[in-house]
Symmetry: C2
Amino acid sequence: MSRNHDTTDRQLLSQLQPWLDAAAVVTGNAVDPRYGDDLSGKGGGRPELVLRPRSAVEVAEILRLCSGFGQKLVVHGGRTGLAGAARVQPGEAVLSLERMTAVEAPDRAAATIIAEAGAPLQMVQEAADAAGLMFGVDIGARGTATVGGNIATNAGGIRVLRYGMYRAQVLGLEAVLADGSILTSLRGLAKDNSGYDLNQLFIGSEGTLGVVTRACLRLHPKPATEVAAFCSLGSLDAAIALLGLLKQRLGPLLSAYEVNFSPLYGAMIAGMAAPAPLPAGAPVYVLAEIQGNQAELDGERFASVLMQAVEDGIVDDVVVSQSPREFRALWDVREEANRFLFAIEGLIGVDISIPLLTMAAFLREAEAAIRAKDGSAEIYVFGHLGDGNLHYQVDTTEPAAAYEIIYRGVAACGGAVSAEHGIGLDKKKWLNLVRSDAELSAMRRLKAAFDPHNVLNPGRIFDIA
Amino acid sequence: MSRNHDTTDRQLLSQLQPWLDAAAVVTGNAVDPRYGDDLSGKGGGRPELVLRPRSAVEVAEILRLCSGFGQKLVVHGGRTGLAGAARVQPGEAVLSLERMTAVEAPDRAAATIIAEAGAPLQMVQEAADAAGLMFGVDIGARGTATVGGNIATNAGGIRVLRYGMYRAQVLGLEAVLADGSILTSLRGLAKDNSGYDLNQLFIGSEGTLGVVTRACLRLHPKPATEVAAFCSLGSLDAAIALLGLLKQRLGPLLSAYEVNFSPLYGAMIAGMAAPAPLPAGAPVYVLAEIQGNQAELDGERFASVLMQAVEDGIVDDVVVSQSPREFRALWDVREEANRFLFAIEGLIGVDISIPLLTMAAFLREAEAAIRAKDGSAEIYVFGHLGDGNLHYQVDTTEPAAAYEIIYRGVAACGGAVSAEHGIGLDKKKWLNLVRSDAELSAMRRLKAAFDPHNVLNPGRIFDIA
């Protein structure tokens, strides 16, 4: 749509302002530069217009008018996304959910909670905890990442093995379509097959099909005990064998299964203030966690399966947490990976799914190919092995070649170019490696049906052909 | 679309036949009357044309041609649906998946299985079992209901509490759109956020957006032990309290929580060959099940929580299975409800979700209102209390009034007019009680985007406005 920017902007603002309070419309120099920030360091640009509604009705009016004027919008939650979806592009106004942060008290009987989209994940976790319940998703960015952003990317994190991704937590949504329709489905029923489940459209579609404004989320009973074990192992095969053993012997008690490959562990503990749980030097480290309902028995059972794994030669060494403090300390080591990696300038990182059966070959072949291009490249890999999801980082002078090697390798072994971070702006050139023309065409059909003027997060995931 | 039936049919057939083997196209008197059967007893009509493809490619060619000719299709799986979706309407041809019943050997490492849409659920269960794994969904119609039909209705059943509905089992689908595009996503990854999750479109949309031809389904470790307990309780409140206690104390061990209200239990055991586990006369009966990983310990733990519930006065009497045979016998009592109810001519039945907090009031008020219309009405209620899902049956001379009372009551208390059976043809007049105009309009928008000629299961769920 060809637009005369100044005239259109003035007309849009004149129609928006009667609906919105003064703090809801920020323009020009009054716009805080943080709206232009981007975790990738690629910069975006400071937007000319930031809209900060307080309710779904205000979001609806904004979307209706912006659709009419062809004003493109980029939706902002906590801006912690790792695929560039929130990076402001020329001509885009920001729609920020930052004033919609209410979290209701949990419904204890139904084990549900209703939160506005701008509420940080941690607020939901804390509200659940205060009611004696637990929220099933946890990610490193919990303090900043919002419920809406989590839903838009179908966030996963560390306990997908037990509780599933965000899709499994969403019992209902309130979402606004580009034409201003508000879809409200917040009854929080565990089972509801009354027509299409429209909520699914908005989970993982990265804000391109509508703007989520509220969510009804599933909560779980709070476990009576949490125990973490930190293990060193001789190979990925051993780590996969241990995963199988723990699943078989502990069933649903197993709540997380994280992996950290050499040389990442050694490099990160070198700069860590706290003592390392195990010495560096092993090829693979695993953090396994159980959440149990019998405080002592479940921990003993976990320890006994681990001891058997040591006796069987699957695990070389293991430390099991004996207190909540030790439990927390083991998780701090896991989170140290992010602190270490974020400090490396120019590091490239991808978030991939790989079938366990082909993972060892993928790692071997990708490393050889990357080193063939750049003999001094450093490769740092950790992730959620229980879900087949690796975070794979490369410190290299040949980033373009490394991306190419990794993503083509992922596609060749039946993996996914994004396990949990999404596609955003940064990965869309790789999407056709794992999605067929028929799938991409069906995605565009959905986009055209729900956002015919292409105003919502345009160009995220795919371009309109 | 106005059609000259005979000419169009001949043209359609002449274009289909080169693609299909002789057994794939059945017309006129050669059509077996069973394609016109309908569980509701409402009859449909024997179709003029039955198409029986053997592959997604054949399904694609059928859909492409039928879209072009405006030939409406009703998709048939096992025809066990309870909402009339498979009932043949005038002018509809049947697309039966009955020749696509292949079930691959499970992938043990990934704990997944790929099955064609026409395979009965039980084939998947048995293939999983033979590989030392378990499929998470079980329903009474397991021997006949197909994977494709299960997906189309997002089937639930008895272990949703632990494993979720079908949506939670689907890791990927192969589905054919009305225009003949084939969407294939069978990698079976636990985490994949590479663009829209198109699989979600086909789960629970009752065959109106595309035809599922294959599915990659999640499997679980087979439990080491299964124990069932059959309890009598004084009230629904007591049953809800027991559910809370079991969830809190047993966490994910709890795998089913079924309820059966008076007078159903007494009526059904009167005609049962096997001895009843507990005498009739209590207001409420519960069948609770655990699936554990420690053969003796988990059963003891279950029994000890139940004994505490007896001591606390929550449970009046309880029988706990001591062997696989006793376990099976308690489930047979649960399934006796269907045998008893199917024998009652003219019985009306609904499949509803009700929030636990309002369930007692709903039951009381619905019963009073139904009896005010028909003093001799009998009301039989059982269901999946752990999910808030009741199967509510009425033997009445005033069925229309009873439907009205039940569905309006459901809507008033924030429930769902279909928890797991779907809307089909039979419940669409009630859909607007629980879905807003904006939601219905969004559903129609999806239908128009994916089936613009309205050839796939037309008129199921909603009519095109």
